[in-house]
Symmetry: C2
Subunit: 392 residues, 2 copies
């Protein structure tokens, strides 16, 4: 029997339930695989002497967050103010809100900070800096990181745009606290092979260090140099000049990460339990009761070497059934069929057969559920239920 | 001020809130547009003299269900047993659970039926029929519809497979109650133009009527002939032999339905309120705080004549900004850019600007939220909050 280490209300150990007897669809979490994933990244970063600020957006669970963080107060990363509030209530109070700040959210940021939360916010424009400076109390300045766009993926100041860095820093300085720079190598999801991944990580590191150097040369201290994405966190060869690494999806891993090459199928800790409800035998289809409400519509593997559809089928014990993918989803239906390039034919799966579907994108699949049913490695009995929140 | 007609706890009228002041992202429902959509379909079906069994899976809201149904007890359609339980608790007790039954769900079906709910279930195989017959009490037989696959879309007995129809009917007859047949023209989503839509509707009708005729010829009464999908519900030229029509997404409509041609952009009642948080001006990108957690990853318009990305941007009052789409989503970020074929350039949208995003697929977008913020047509003030449930 697994006991919840945190012992919070709402996370009481449930009576063990065989997966065979659970209603479907349900979200299943293999605790030992998750623990292995956490140990792997924490060991790597500890050896490199760099701090780990795990991203809690994938799990949105206090029980899981407590296993990811390196100290009782954090540090940690969040993607919504709702996460900041939920995790702060559980004592995790050293937080970076890693989405560019909307000025209208500043009163809520200040309300969270007044409760003793060390909440750092993110921005990449003079407009935002002006709003933050106006909302900040010089006696208790809002801590700010400047977002950098190291690889053209999304938001952030472009590498080498020292004029903009300086303009932001100047606007912030009198009232807010410029803590440093942050970047996310989002394009590393497109990298293939260890060399390309190492190059993406080095680009992420070098961009952040360069921007920090520019800010320091202009008289700003810039103590924080924050980098991170799951692919680069497992691929960097140097963290020189970096003070902290962020990563989130590694906690569960998924088919996208397996396709990139930073995990194996056996590392994937999350799956969706489903039941066979029918067949179209002439087409080789097996119909299951997990549609997009259970799996999400994420098609993250569509551009990878192996397109896994909406997920890869496993038997009840979690062993993948090679080539058997969810090829279509409706709201409450999934259609399983053999991938066109797969060898062999689909196994006979009578109505009532339980299967487990590995997700393309663990963040998106977990977001469709309110509860983790927790199993030990390879077991087929859920011994705990951990709540998961959502919303903003 | 709009009052909730139902007056249930949890649906109390909220103090009016300007959309400009709501936290973002939030789900916005234009009540007058929704009412117009409901009136349009109900009038059409009333004129045709055919019963309407609305599908409640899109809205998952008691307040909205009460506006869709034609009587206090229903009839209505659900896609999960959770929906059956929630709506039954609100007095909506004439229900079809329109997903093929998994034998393991039969105890829960029976538990719902014992509470006085007229819950009809669906199946398309002898295996399922055997399980239903075994679970059914001849003194209180479980009502069953046989699912038909009228257009190769998903589940169901193939047209003309009278041997399978008869085999299922024979297994059911001693213990369960064969009520009739049900089909869903899922392939109508691929039809383009009024003629193709009318043909899809006629195929749906004819397939169902033919199967009912076969069952009757074999001595089974088959009182129910149930058809439906939003595109065919608005396109059928005859309902001869049909006893009821189902449709769900019409209540909100969405960009997919507009692309099919069964609604206009002005009919779309659902949108996601979001705030501009940044720009990449060199690329023509505007970054907003609505990612896939708020919009879903649904790409239903990808194969249509106009690919709307992950949604179409509107101003705060709901007026579309022609050509401005959400072209990429991450967990909490959306990237707005002009469609390649759009005339004109993107408007200047400073940080803090509020926008509303029309969804590709209303079912999927609504499923990402727990609350509807209700506005009147064209107004920019939310005057009610209606809860929305999810899960199984």
């Amino acid at each position: 029997m697994i006991f919840d280490r945190a012992g919070r209300p709402g996370a009481a150990p449930a009576a063990p339930r065989a997966l065979q007897d659970l209603d479907t669809p349900r979200l299943i979490l293999d605790e030992a695989r998750m623990d292995g994933n956490i140990i792997r990244l924490r060991s790597r970063l500890r050896s490199a002497g760099v701090e780990f600020r795990p991203h809690l957006k994938t799990a949105k669970s206090v029980e899981i967050a407590r296993r990811m963080i390196t100290g009782p107060r954090g540090p940690a990363t969040v993607s919504t103010l709702r996460e900041a509030e939920e995790f702060a209530a559980a004592g995790i109070v050293d937080l970076v809100y890693a989405v560019g700040i909307s000025p209208a959210k500043l009163p809520r940021v200040q309300s969270i900070r007044k409760r003793g939360v060390a909440l750092t916010i993110l921005l990449d424009s003079v407009e935002q800096a002006e709003a933050v400076a106006a909302a900040s109390d010089p006696a208790d300045p809002i801590p700010v990181l400047i977002e950098l766009d190291c690889d053209g993926h999304r938001s952030g100041v472009k590498p080498g745009d020292d004029a903009l860095l300086l303009a932001i820093a100047r606007v912030l300085s009198p009232c807010a606290e410029l803590r440093g720079v942050l970047t996310h190598a989002g394009e590393s999801y497109e990298a293939r092979g260890p060399q390309a991944l190492a190059a993406a990580a080095e680009n992420e590191r070098a961009s952040a260090v360069m921007a920090a150097r520019s800010l320091r040369a202009m008289g700003h201290e810039c103590p924080v140099v924050s980098v991170g994405s799951t692919p680069t966190a497992f691929s960097a060869r140097s963290y020189e000049g970096v003070t902290e690494v962020r990563a989130g999806v590694f906690v569960f891993f998924d088919l996208v990460q397996a396709g990139i090459g930073v995990c194996s199928l056996e590392d994937i800790a999350l799956s969706v339990l489903t039941t066979v409800i029918g067949h179209q035998r002439g087409k080789g289809w097996t119909i299951v009761d997990a549609g997009w409400t259970a799996l999400s519509c994420d098609r993250g593997t569509a551009t990878q070497a192996v397109d896994q559809g909406y997920g890869l089928a496993c038997d009840l014990s979690g062993r993948p059934i090679p080539g058997l993918n969810v090829v279509a989803v409706n709201q409450e239906h999934g259609v399983l069929a053999m991938r066109a390039d797969a060898l062999g034919s689909a196994p006979d799966l009578p109505v009532g057969t339980r299967l487990r579907i590995l997700p393309n994108h663990a963040c998106a699949t977990a977001a469709q559920h309110g509860l983790y049913h927790v199993i030990r490695a390879g077991e087929t009995e859920a011994t705990a239920q951990w709540p998961r929140f959502s919303g903003w």
